[in-house]
């Protein structure tokens, strides 16, 4: 059975997005923070699971996320597993908040899949290899907690 993403996973996703939002330009669209999180994970996970392995994972996460966040409708997975926006630029610019939420849903789904496959401990280890200060809470817990 696939575990649905828990509030803890979403909290971690929001934390990661906040880190990566700071790394971007202020004028940049909000969804790009999620792209940067996924890109960092792609590089790490492609080494571990192979390009195909990561591409399968992010494709599944995107499919699941699109059901919750229509703003991801124009996002596609490229051959190497990286993400691209295939819609018009104007469309992005008009949906900053929705895009931010879409990014959060996507990263949450990706973390959820990782926890399902390799467990919480290894997922947190992988995330902390990239973001050493990433907060840890029980991602299997259904209880919402503020980070």
């Amino acid at each position: 059975m696939v575990n649905p993403p828990t509030p803890a996973m979403r909290n971690l996703a929001l934390w990661l997005l906040a880190q990566e939002a700071n790394a971007g330009k202020p004028s940049e669209i909000k969804m790009y923070a999620a792209f940067r999180v996924c890109e960092k994970l792609r590089r790490r996970l492609s080494t571990l699971a192979g390009v195909t392995g990561y591409r399968s994972l992010i494709s599944r996460a995107l499919t699941l996320a699109k059901k919750e966040a229509p703003s991801l409708g124009e996002v596609q997975v490229k051959e190497d597993g990286s993400l691209e926006w295939t819609g018009a630029i104007e469309l992005q610019q008009g949906m900053d908040e929705a895009g931010k939420e879409g990014g959060a849903v996507l990263v949450t789904q990706l973390l959820g899949l990782l926890v399902t496959f390799i467990g919480q401990t290894l997922t947190v280890r992988l995330v902390r290899d990239l973001w050493p200060d990433a907060p840890f809470e029980d991602m299997n817990s259904e209880t919402e907690k503020e980070l």
Binding site: A49, T52, G53, L57, F117
Partner: protein, 503 residues
């Protein structure tokens, strides 16, 4: 060349219980090894166990995965094993997927990628899982290309001071003329043999340069702790034999001791053979209880009844096993799970003997022992039992085994299992029909290296246990179980197990 002049080959732990001993002390450091076998034999688990056992911050492990089990699933399943320390993942053990390189590039590029990772990490252990898929890359190319690739890989990894393991799904036919096997320093072959409803796992060290491994096939099991091996020499190879003592051990039955010239010679293997209900287990319990009474430690391996029942029965005959059990001087092993390998069982018995420093061991019964084994292991039974008995008696443990024989009124058998060669001494218990009564007789068939009574004695089982009566006179043909009377006066004596109310 003196020992000092020789290069010292350091040995690394395998992380697999029993395997270091089979390999002659461990994995030769800097060696280039192949772990081969068909799917499901445990190659990946063995590769992980070796990596987890040896990876340190100074000497990390690199685990290359290639077009086999997807890495995510591999991590998912492998973390179920207790040896899988998650804190080592991507820390002291780095998992690197080479699938893309193998699919899209040539062997030189694969080699370059491995070299890059190795040079960047300086690993102590390198695993390629599965190397078979790398080798397949060359199927369209020449064998020479594969030879060159393997040679370069071996050279490079050894130069970078890595001990390497290539995991692959090979069949034995592929071994001949395959350059991969020629270059390898070590070759571990894993087998999974299905026999009737049982699965038997075995491994063989086909080749190991620089050190002597234990030859032959060794049983292994995969549990939540990973692989666990059971050497066919039971870890007793090269153990020094103890000088035989002249001490006699009491059986706890005074008359039987007299018949045996003062008891069982210490370090003997004694077989108590008889039909069902003749009191073999009771005799064995007397032997154990007497040892415990004298302050010795003991092991009872039971296959036909549970320890609780064994204890209760002893209590009914006023034989105290409980005190010694509570004091840790007696261990009753109940060994009856199906699919048990003979070596596994013997390892358990040996372990228990070592644990309590047992001087006496009872195997009750040999037939039950054999029945508890997976069918595939039964062919090895006598050989393995012989090895264990020889090894244990060699270190001074006295072993009493019971064996059931079929009731036959035409033949006189020591046992149905042809295990009498295991015994220094044989006691035979038997039924005879006399005057419409089924009576019990006992005789000492054999005592190696010492004299014994030739008498055929009647015995009975009373609330005091095993009671041996006088020599049974006045009949001939007792051992055929249908004796003829020689003298009617000899019939006057009552059997020793006559019910008390009739006394």
């Amino acid at each position: 060349m003196s020992e000092q002049d020789k290069v010292k080959i350091h040995k690394l732990p395998t992380g697999v219980p029993g395997l270091d001993e089979i390999m002659g002390g461990g994995l030769p450091e800097l060696s280039f090894n192949i772990i081969a076998g068909s799917p499901g034999t445990g190659k990946t688990t063995l590769g992980h166990q070796i990596a987890f056992a040896n990876a340190t911050p100074e000497h990390p492990a690199l685990y290359f995965t290639v077009l086999g089990e997807p890495a995510m699933k591999m991590l998912r399943y492998q973390q179920q094993f207790t040896f899988f320390d998650q804190t080592k993942v991507n820390n002291t053990i780095r998992f690197i997927n080479l699938s893309q390189f193998v699919l899209e590039k040539d062997l030189n590029a694969v080699m370059a990628q491995i070299a890059k990772e190795v040079e960047g990490t300086s690993p102590g252990i390198v695993v390629v899982d599965s190397f078979r898929t790398v080798a397949r890359k060359t199927q369209a190319a020449s064998e020479m290309e594969l030879q060159a690739f393997v040679q370069n890989l071996a050279l490079h990894l050894a130069s970078w001071q890595a001990t390497t393991f290539l995991l692959g799904e090979y069949t034995e036919d592929e071994m001949r003329g395959n350059p991969v096997f020629t270059v390898a320093d070590g070759l571990v072959w894993l087998y999974q043999i299905v026999e009737r409803n049982a699965v038997v796992r075995k491994l063989q060290i086909v080749k190991l340069r620089g050190q002597s491994s234990v030859p032959g096939m060794h049983t292994f099991r995969i549990t939540e702790a990973g692989l666990e091996t059971f050497s066919r020499t039971l870890g007793l190879a090269g153990k020094k034999e103890k000088e035989r003592s002249k001490r006699r051990l009491s059986t706890g039955i005074a008359e039987l001791d007299k018949m045996m010239g003062g008891g069982i010679p210490e370090g003997d293997s004694i077989l108590v053979s008889g039909a069902s209900g003749t009191g073999k287990s009771l005799l064995a319990t007397h032997f154990i209880a007497e040892g415990l009474r004298r302050g010795e430690s003991a092991i009872v391996a039971v296959f036909e009844e549970r320890p609780r029942g064994y204890m209760e029965r002893a209590k009914n005959f006023n034989l105290d096993l409980e005190t010694a059990q509570k004091a840790g001087r007696l261990d009753i092993l109940y060994l009856r799970p199906l699919d048990l390998s003979v070596d596994e069982t013997l390892h358990e018995i040996l372990e228990a003997v070592r644990r309590v420093d047992a001087k006496r061991l009872v195997i009750d019964s040999v037939a039950g022992f054999e029945m508890a084994l997976a069918p595939g292991f039964r062919t090895d039974f006598r050989e393995s039992l012989y090895r264990m008995i020889s090894a244990l008696t060699g270190i001074g443990v006295t072993i009493l085994s019971t064996v059931e024989v079929e009731v036959s009124f035409t033949a006189f058998r020591f046992s149905n299992f042809s295990v009498s060669f295991l015994a220094d001494d044989i006691i035979r218990l038997n039924y005879v029909e006399i005057d419409g009564q089924l009576r019990k007789i006992l005789m000492i068939i054999k005592m190696r290296g010492s004299g014994n009574s030739n008498d055929i004695r009647e015995y009975g089982i009373t609330s005091k246990g095993f009671i041996i009566g006088p020599r049974m006179k006045g009949h001939r043909g007792l051992i055929t179980k249908v004796p003829e009377s020689l003298d009617s006066s000899a019939q006057e004596e009552e059997p020793p197990d006559k019910p008390k109310g009739e006394e």
